[in-house]
Symmetry: C2
Subunit: 181 residues, 2 copies
DNA sequence: ACAAGATAGTTTAAGGTTAAAAGAAATTAC
DNA sequence: GTAATTTCTTTTAACCTTAAACTATCTTGT
């Protein structure tokens, strides 16, 4: 009979990192890989802390964040668009959050296909605590970056976002002719 | 009887975007949200193209990319560390890629617990085509960003990465005393 | 040698995610 | 007014992902 083992450390080490930039890769590719590494690193840490501190997940937190600034509630479709995830995904997330008593769901009266969700009183209070901690965590993770550089980075990422949007829009225009809107 | 419907557009619109920067948020938080938006946007587009053009997924592509530069193969654990995902995750991905004949799996002779995976000849050839397209796609998405700005961004993301690593390491140091290595 | 512990990988349970198909209600075209 | 179409949501099947528990093997201390 074996004695109790230390729980296996599935969690990724800060050390282990993708090889971001083999010599022969284009600048664009290296930039994308580094951007992805940064996002993955931060996201993993935030997921971990949300679980450890609030026993919740990032998608649930994101959904609640969307509801927080809409006291009158949001339609599921609008939620799905804002969160950039599929409709079916939202269906499941809402289900679980309702189960936990953090949000409430109500069929629209004007359109009986549609459903509106909003935070409950409890949900609002819980979210306030989570959001505060979340903001602190992000500030902590970026702490070594001077404010000046943070602003510059934010601005440049705006340009990057614009480039991506442009490229995607161009692709859709050529792929779906006559579908203009 | 209804006629055939156009396939539902589950895919997110380029338009629909998270509200990145409510006025009252800290700079750090706004930076993080914008970084996440960029990463999500690019990643979604690449996933979509991998599926449409090669009928594969990003995790599978990533795994093959790790093997590409290791002709002698890689241990599963090493793979898991490099990809920044859990061991169990790699187990499943390897299973499916072996099934597709793109990689091969072999028990290590020196350590019968360990397993080595490497690309098959077929896998290597398929990956070459995928990697080429992938590189083009990324270049296309970032095309509007001047080379100069790409380099600046890459460099600043290096600082960001460093900040995150530092913060995480500091947290682990205080959380797990005596666990130095 | 052998008990104790460490290490490599798999399994399991739970949840997140998507595309596609389908259901239900509203809108539009005639 | 009603058939056709669009819109809002759910369901389904498949995959990705993780933490924790578990199996099998190797290593170490004595």
């Amino acid at each position: 009979m074996t004695t109790a083992r230390a729980p296996q450390r599935e969690h990724i080490d800060a050390e282990s990192k993708v090889d971001e930039s083999p010599q022969h890769h284009r600048v664009e590719l290296r930039l994308w890989l580094r951007l992805l590494t940064c996002a993955t690193l931060i996201e993993a840490e935030i997921r971990k802390r949300l679980r450890e501190n609030f026993n919740t997940t990032l998608p649930r937190f994101d959904l609640m964040a969307q509801l927080e600034r809409a006291p009158d509630g949001v339609l599921l479709g609008e939620l799905s668009r804002r969160m950039m995830v599929s409709n079916g995904n939202v269906t499941g997330l809402v289900e679980r959050l309702v189960q936990e008593g953090l949000i409430e769901r109500q069929v629209s009266e004007r359109d009986r296909r549609a459903a509106i969700v909003r935070l409950t009183e409890h949900g609002r209070s819980v979210f306030a605590r989570m959001a505060s901690a979340h903001s602190d965590w992000v500030a902590e993770l970026l702490a070594e970056l001077p404010a000046q550089e943070q602003k510059a980075l934010w601005s440049q990422l705006g340009d990057l976002k614009h480039s991506v949007h442009t490229a995607i829009a161009r692709g859709q225009r050529t792929a779906e002719p006559g579908q203009d809107r």
